[in-house]
């Protein structure tokens, strides 16, 4: 297989633009997913009976093919970015909700009780004690959700909103491997960089875990 480096040189602008679109289409859903998962996870911790149905619902959503979801949402949102982002947001829930729940569950009972006993109210305890302690587990979920979202978004090209997915499809149609390869490599790079950034975020948010790393 011959790679046409010249083509790549001529198309850096469009590839960059597609890459940025790709990132936006992939990551906004993760942010929205997190915004939904945090309160949902908190509620699941508060009312234990609530968690199994929520988890089942999230998993069922994940099982629905994206194409089917596009067909459903296209009637309401049309051929635009939200039609791609809504399914991705729903997909992220199946990873993020359990991780938020597990993260909150990683706060030990003595810590929770001590927080109550020294005079944290419910909300303050959540924000200042439970959430910070849950960060490593939540971020682990965000990493999975972000990487899978970056890979899944390519399918959005079916409704004309695929970022780099469009290059893959075009390359296939034109039997032009260079374009397929360039877009695929870029997608992998985006995933790796995003993951590295999330690791950095976790590093910044959890100084106590850094101390643990040094100690061991």
């Amino acid at each position: 297989m011959e790679i046409d480096w010249g083509w790549i040189g001529e198309h850096t602008d469009s590839l960059t633009e597609h890459a940025l679109t790709h990132l936006r289409l992939a990551l906004f859903p993760v942010v929205f997913g997190l915004l939904i998962s945090l309160p949902l996870g908190v509620l699941c911790r508060r009312w234990r009976w609530f968690y199994p149905p929520v988890l089942t619902a999230a998993n069922v959503l994940y099982a629905i093919p994206s194409l089917a979801l596009y067909m459903i949402f296209i009637q309401y949102t049309g051929l635009n970015e939200s039609t791609v982002m809504i399914p991705l947001t729903l997909y992220s829930l199946s990873v993020l909700v359990p991780n938020v729940v597990d993260g909150l569950a990683s706060v030990s009972e003595p810590v929770r009780q001590a927080a109550t006993a020294v005079g944290f109210g419910t909300l303050r305890r959540l924000v200042q004690v439970e959430m910070p302690i849950a960060v490593p587990v939540v971020i682990a979920g965000v990493r999975v959700a972000a990487v899978s979202s970056i890979s899944l978004v390519a399918i959005g090209q079916l409704i004309g909103q695929g970022g780099l997915g469009e290059d893959i499809f075009r390359g296939y149609q034109l039997n032009f491997p260079t374009q397929i390869l360039a877009a695929s490599v870029l997608i992998v790079l985006l995933a790796l960089v995003t993951d590295a950034l999330l690791v950095a975020v976790q590093w910044l948010l959890t100084p106590w875990a850094r101390a643990r790393g040094r100690a061991s």
């Binding site: 003595p110 009780q113 004690v129 106590w208």
Partner: protein, 417 residues
């Protein structure tokens, strides 16, 4: 003062965790709640800071119903220490200690200064201020827990089995330091434990709870040992409560004599005229060891003879008859050697002398008032007591664990050799 007025906690499923508990925890004193698991002692503790809301009766702090304050605000004014310290893993030691000051919106500098002062106070190196809880040992974490409870200088402290999760040696240290701190701070403390030895060691007053949330007896440690209210309490205290009572009789009450006490310079011939054993003391009256008169060399002075080690001495001003009796039992001569704070001889007493003193002290104690069992279903409850005995009792050597250890005369053992 913390007052329980007919406090009852009944859960919706019918379980009764507290059954009409009335009791007072005096200001500036340590009140220990002790009892079997399921006895409601922790529940009782938690009604004070409203972590448990009673279904009947009320709890007052200095005459004020705790329900008059919002829970979070009430709790910021009450120190709380729990079993596994419950430190916040994501906060440094100083920020853990400064938790309540932060909640009370002190400025950060003042809060951290307070935290560092408290670290010294509870025996932690302030150099650890920037570490995280997991970097500390269990005992150190528990000290941080105590410092956190003290940070805003609350008049009331609640302690829920704070020393139960550390090993016996560390527990002994923590208990001693806790008493030392309390002697400085005079907090009103409610302390929950399942360990009767700990209760006796730490409590000014002891409240014994029994399964079903019933308060069986409230008494001073001495009173609890001498007059348990019923078979349950007697069983809970265990079979050696007689021996434990000795911890509360000062050794000074034992008659001490200087019979058969001779200096190291005494000629052997003189010593032979004494009893079977003579106690040899140095010029400075520090005891050197026991000499068996039957095995003395032909001539010379006692200081040159082979001496048997004393074992341990007891300190007359601070130790109890229990320590004295222990010293007598371990002594080769059967006599206990009493010394003053500097380790100089005060006198010796044998087991008969001590037992006479014990009898006198016990008889001098006021006659039991008409103690009727607090409950009408007696004997049956005494039976499970064996299984309920304290899990790993801390050896109680004397009644004053907070005092500095007596001068260590054991180091003199064998010196004359």
């Amino acid at each position: 003062m913390i007052t329980f007025e007919g406090v009852t906690k009944r859960y919706p499923d019918g379980t009764v965790a507290l059954d009409d508990v009335s009791l007072e925890c005096p200001t500036g004193k340590i009140t220990v709640f002790v009892g079997t698991s399921g006895g409601g002692k922790t529940t009782a503790l938690r009604t004070i800071n409203r972590m448990v809301e009673p279904t009947g009766g009320r709890v007052l702090i200095d005459g004020r119903d705790v329900r008059d304050s919002r829970p979070a605000e009430l709790r910021r004014g009450i120190g709380y220490v729990i079993q596994h310290a419950g430190l916040f893993p994501h906060r440094t030691i100083e920020d853990n200690i400064a938790t309540v000051p932060y909640l009370l919106r002190w400025n950060k500098k003042k809060a951290r200064e307070t935290a560092r002062e408290l670290m010294e106070r509870v025996g932690l190196d302030p150099g650890m201020a920037g570490r995280y809880p997991f970097q500390l040992s269990g005992g150190q974490q528990q000290r941080v827990g105590v410092a956190r409870a003290l940070a805003a200088d609350p008049p009331v402290m609640l302690m829920d089995e704070p020393f139960s999760a550390v090993d016996p040696v560390v527990r002994g240290e923590l208990q001693a330091e806790f008493l030392r701190l309390q002697a400085e701070l005079h907090k009103t403390i409610v302390f929950v434990t399942h360990d009767i030895d700990e209760a006796i060691k730490l409590g000014d007053r002891i409240a014994v709870f029994r399964t079903g949330g019933k308060l069986v007896q409230v008494a001073s440690p001495q009173e609890l040992l001498s007059r348990p209210a019923d078979d349950f309490v007697a069983g809970f205290i265990g079979h050696d409560r007689g021996i434990r009572r000795l911890s509360f009789i000062p050794a000074a009450e034992a008659p001490l004599t200087e019979r058969d006490v001779l200096t190291a310079a005494t000629p052997v011939a003189t010593a032979r005229a004494a009893g079977d054993w003579v106690l040899v003391v140095g010029e400075d009256r520090r005891p050197l060891g026991w000499a068996a008169t039957g095995a003395l060399p032909a001539d010379g002075v006692l200081g040159e003879a082979r001496l048997a080690p004393i074992g341990h001495t007891f300190t007359v001003g601070t130790d109890s008859v229990r320590a004295a009796l222990d010293a007598a039992i371990l002594s080769p001569s059967g006599r206990a050697v009493g010394v003053d704070g500097d380790g100089r001889l005060v006198g010796v007493a044998d087991q008969h002398d001590l037992s006479a003193a014990i009898t006198a002290a016990v008889n001098a104690a006021p006659e039991p008032a008409d103690t009727e069992p607090a409950d009408t279903e007696p004997a049956a409850v005494a039976e499970p007591a064996d299984g309920l005995a304290p899990v790993d009792p801390v050896p109680v050597d004397g009644p004053e664990p907070g005092e500095p250890a007596p001068a260590e005369p054991a180091s003199k053992d064998g010196v004359p050799d």
